[in-house]
């Protein structure tokens, strides 16, 4: 196929996903400039593979490339801190939130969530969360992808997506609950 026709097709199908691509890269790398560089590189890679592209879901296909490019980017920068695989013995045990989250006295969670300070707390908690949880939360909550789509992008079983998502959410709720309780105690 003529390269210019291919270029037009690519632009039409793929550039509309640029915000999602940037959002995922930004959440994985943690930096604006890195995310920009990753997205540019991912688009070049995607274009090179576009001729053979047969996937029906263009967003999932592009985000798979963005995710892989982000991981490679971080490895090339020796940013291993964020790439450490989840270790059950380190990341679970006493740090794992309990099933039922006790909310602050007199405050329902929706009231707790609706303050800008607590939105910052959740934002920071998500940013600091192990990457294996963070990426599924971003793909599901922010990008609105299904478990199956996430499973394809991250290359894990659907059951693992479900489990990572619920554990990630529990961590966010626990963080929020802890901070709110601490603040409440300091105000007494």
């Amino acid at each position: 196929m003529d390269k210019n026709i291919l270029f037009d097709q690519f632009e039409r199908q793929m550039l509309s996903h640029m915000d999602s691509a940037y959002n995922l890269a930004r959440w994985i790398t943690g930096h604006d400039q890195d995310a920009e560089d990753v997205v540019q590189e991912a688009y070049i890679r995607a274009f090179r593979g576009f001729e053979k592209y047969t996937d029906i879901n263009s967003l999932s296909w592009l985000l798979t490339i963005v995710r892989n490019t982000s991981y490679n980017w971080m490895k090339s920068k020796h940013d291993y801190k964020h790439l450490i695989e989840f270790d059950e013995s380190v990341h679970s045990s006493s740090n794992e939130p309990s099933f039922i989250i006790e909310c602050n006295q007199g405050l329902r969670q929706d009231q707790i969530l609706n303050t800008s300070n607590n939105k910052n707390i959740i934002h920071n908690a998500l940013r600091e969360m192990p990457l294996i949880f963070r990426e599924v939360i971003v793909l599901h909550e922010i990008e609105g992808l299904s478990y199956k789509e996430i499973a394809d992008i991250v290359d894990i079983p659907v059951g693992t997506v479900m489990s990572r998502l619920s554990r990630g959410r529990r961590r966010l709720q626990k963080t929020l609950s802890n901070r709110s309780n601490r603040r409440h105690q300091s105000e007494l």
Binding site: F10, N23, E36, Q40, Y43, F99, I122, M162, S166, R170
Partner: protein
């Protein structure tokens, strides 16, 4: 099976219910459970609230000019490929006439 394992599985189901990822049979079963279990109904409420906050607040917008940068890079990449092919075509014959370097 330990209590925490059972609770973990149950919590996964509540999450999958909120995400509309359960089969019709499981969905009905979980709904019936919510009617008799205030704890799980509260969990569901908390997950929904958290999701709403995440969806509305935490998407990073791509910076102004990124689309143009990508287009420029793609054009450069495309031109680079074309020039490379032209270069191979134009100068490839030289290898047949030039003496081998010592």
């Amino acid at each position: 099976m330990s209590c925490s394992t059972v609770r973990g599985i149950l919590y996964n189901y509540i999450n999958a219910y909120v995400d509309d990822e359960l089969s019709a049979t499981d969905r009905t079963a979980v709904e019936k459970h919510f009617e008799v279990c205030a704890h799980c109904a509260n969990e569901r409420f908390q997950i929904v609230q958290m999701n709403n906050t995440l969806q509305s607040e935490f998407a990073y917008s791509s910076p102004y000019g990124l689309k143009d940068d990508i287009k420029n890079k793609l054009t450069e990449s495309l031109e680079g490929e074309v020039n490379h092919k032209k270069s191979e075509f134009s100068w490839g014959w030289l290898s047949y006439v030039a003496p081998p370097s010592s």
